[in-house]
């Protein structure tokens, strides 16, 4: 379990010279992340009229071999006795805290080793430690500690429909705060949560709000508090969530198929089962886009531990964890009524007793075994199949509607044809009558001759 991928990805929307100035990094390790042009333009225009300093934004994802401590500051992790504990620590947690304390004092600790502290068993254990180390994991500079003012009116700077959406979702973020919070506490929490999100969205107008962002923001707020949370959420948004915050969710819709591409490798029979019930991997949407904050809002201990893990992992890691969880629950899934609805429901409902520490290790191993680049072709193929299916359904719906419409019109035409049809029958009667009369006359005249 040592830190892997020595890649550095660089946000292409930042002028390259700017990046070079701020970080001395090996040029050959640069891996430029894909961005569309419109975003770049927006960002550039945004930069000019933003008064806030952009220097707090982590411009690059650093190599794991970079030193964890910068600005010559080694953070101090308080002793166990100083923690605000809601429940007593287990032995494993005590051990982990001493490991963290022991590692942190090393002035040469690398970023990879710091990430490993967050990923390995028990994570960063306690919110007091998280408050110190999350900003370090995100490489926030000390400047980000300066307090930001004007948060009360920040919402007036973002589009009203976005603000209204945020208000709705904040009002429904109740599961993040304790059941017995007073109305005052609830109001205060909701106000801060709104400010936190509005600040980030205002600063980066390229980021589009999505439902679920509130769950991540609430988690950040609970650990970091409002002032320290601002730059943490900003950094998480830029580094990890930006893919969910594009104009549409199309990219997410596609990326969810990583789960299928991975299942194809780790549990092909299960994948076959899921495909047979015509299931899409949408069950994992909330897990992926909220880092489980939507599902485990009330299980803070687990949730914060998962955040430790994801903060030290690449952005697609939640999909690997989802895959591992689905594979772990294979028996349960096979025992479920084999239809789309039931299977979707079971997969959406995560049990509280999943052995997460083991699953997290498995997810990490899976990532190492099949990194995203190695399976991205399959993902594209699954997504192409989905699009085909959707087109097919759309065409079917269209055909059925047209058929219906045609029948209705036919009925109208038939009813207007009534008179011509009658005329035709009159003709028949007339002709038959004339013929009969003619025959009768002929018979009469022929008998008259004799």
């Amino acid at each position: 379990m040592e830190p892997k991928e020595d890649e550095i990805s660089l946000d292409s929307n930042i002028p390259e010279t700017y990046t070079e100035m701020s970080t001395p990094i090996e040029k050959d390790n640069l891996k430029v992340r894909r961005r569309n042009v419109i975003e770049t333009i927006n960002f550039a225009s945004k930069e000019e009229n933003t008064s806030d300093s952009e220097s707090n934004v982590p411009l690059v994802r650093m190599s794991d071999s970079t030193k964890a401590w910068y600005d010559d500051i080694i953070p101090e992790i308080p002793d166990i006795a100083e923690y605000s504990l809601s429940e007593p620590l287990t032995n494993r947690e005590r051990m982990k805290i001493s490991v963290i304390r022991g590692s942190v004092v090393n002035p040469n600790l690398t970023l990879g080793e710091l990430k490993l502290l967050g990923c390995s068993s028990e994570g960063l254990v306690n919110d007091d430690i998280r408050r110190i180390l999350w900003p370090k994991l995100l490489r926030l500079s000390e400047e980000s500690n300066f307090s930001v003012t004007g948060l009360e009116t920040i919402h007036s700077h973002i589009p009203n429909e976005v603000y209204q959406q945020i208000l709705k979702d904040v009002a429904r973020s109740g599961s993040h705060i304790s059941q017995d919070a007073t109305q005052h506490e609830i109001d205060h929490f909701q106000e801060q949560l709104t400010q936190l999100m509005c600040w980030v969205l205002h600063k980066h107008s390229v980021l589009n709000y999505y439902q679920g962002y509130n769950d991540i923001a609430a988690t950040v707020l609970l650990v970091m508090g409002l002032q320290n949370g601002l730059h943490v959420l900003e950094s998480i948004s830029l580094e990890f969530l930006e893919r969910f915050m594009e104009k549409t969710m199309e990219k997410v819709n596609q990326e969810l198929f990583y789960i299928f591409a991975l299942l194809e490798r780790v549990h092909p029979t299960l994948l076959e089962h899921l495909e047979n019930v015509e299931l899409f991997p949408h069950f994992a949407l909330a897990e992926y886009t909220t880092w489980y904050a939507h599902k485990y809002a009330e299980n803070r201990k687990l949730l914060h531990r998962l955040f430790d893990y994801f903060l030290g992992s690449p952005p697609l890691m939640p999909l690997y964890l989802s895959t591992v969880i689905v594979a772990y629950r294979a028996t349960e899934i096979f025992n479920t009524t084999p239809d789309m609805g039931h299977t979707h429901k079971v997969l959406c409902t995560l049990p509280d007793d999943l052995p997460f520490e083991t699953l997290l290790i498995e997810a990490k191993n899976l990532y190492r075994q099949y990194p995203p680049e190695s399976i991205s072709n399959d993902v594209t193929e699954y997504d192409r199949k989905r699009k085909c299916k959707e087109q097919e359904w759309k065409a079917k719906a269209e055909a059925s509607r047209q058929e219906r419409e045609k029948q209705r019109q036919l009925r109208i035409i038939q009813s207007t044809r009534r008179i011509p049809y009658r005329i035709r029958s009159y003709k028949t009667i007339t002709v038959v009558t004339i013929l009969a009369l003619g025959l009768y006359a002929f018979l009469r005249s022929s008998s008259g001759l004799n």
């Binding site: 709705k168 439902q211 509130n214 969710m249 909330a286 429901k345 959406c348 989905r386 059925s400």
Partner: protein, 213 residues
């Protein structure tokens, strides 16, 4: 590992049913779709529920004229950006419930848009019901709108909090779907014409005996 599906735990012999219909709930954000489903499914009103991300599934079997009618209910997220995901779930829907909040005009103005969505992705057999998620407001306007939306079968005012008409919506939908399904079987040649817009008031539909299964 045990089967954790809460629906399966409630009624173990759930596998048997006479009819199975799929119902999709759509409508703007915060109009109370999840509350409506929750109230119908479990009879409770949850103040502290979160927003729906993507789609949720739930199920309930109701008894109509001594027949077990199983309703599969898909509850969708309202935010525009999830449309690309929720669209997949309109497929083969038998009924669609469009929810709007009578106290928020914008949710009412979106109705046209939602109906368009239904037109685009569902077959023409689908039954459509408009649900006002909060009552105590005149509903003249909604009925006026329905003149322009011939697909809409019924407008029902509801309140998930006070449990007003929630069950009726689903019972009505279930009995209507059952009735049409039977008619379709009798007139296999498609003689039956679905007369959209020519529906009766919910209160006058007393011929069916409702019983919660």
């Amino acid at each position: 590992m045990s089967n954790r599906d809460p629906d399966n735990l409630i009624s173990t012999n759930d596998e048997t049913f006479d009819y199975l219909f799929k119902i999709v709930l759509i409508g703007d954000c915060g109009t109370g779709k999840t509350c409506v489903v929750q109230r119908f499914r479990s009879g409770t009103f949850i103040e502290r529920h979160g927003n729906t991300i993507g789609v949720d599934f739930s199920m309930k079997t109701v008894l109509i004229d001594d027949k077990k009618v199983k309703l599969q209910i898909w509850d969708t997220a309202g935010q525009e950006r999830f449309r690309t995901i929720t669209q997949s779930y309109y497929r083969s829907a038998n009924g669609v419930v469009v929810v709007y909040d009578i106290t928020k005009r914008s949710t009412f103005l979106s109705l046209q848009h939602w109906v368009e969505e239904v037109r685009r992705y569902t077959s023409s057999h689908v039954l459509l019901i408009l649900v006002e998620s909060l009552r105590e407001v005149e509903k003249g306007e909604a009925e006026a709108l329905c003149q322009y939306l011939p697909e809409v079968l019924q407008v029902v005012e509801t309140s998930a909090k006070e449990n007003t008409n929630i069950d009726s919506v689903f019972f009505y939908l279930a009995s209507e779907l059952k009735r049409r399904h039977e008619n379709r079987q009798i007139n296999a040649n498609g003689d039956e014409v679905v007369r959209l817009g020519a529906s009766k008031k919910l209160s006058s539909c007393s011929s069916c005996s409702y019983k919660i299964f």
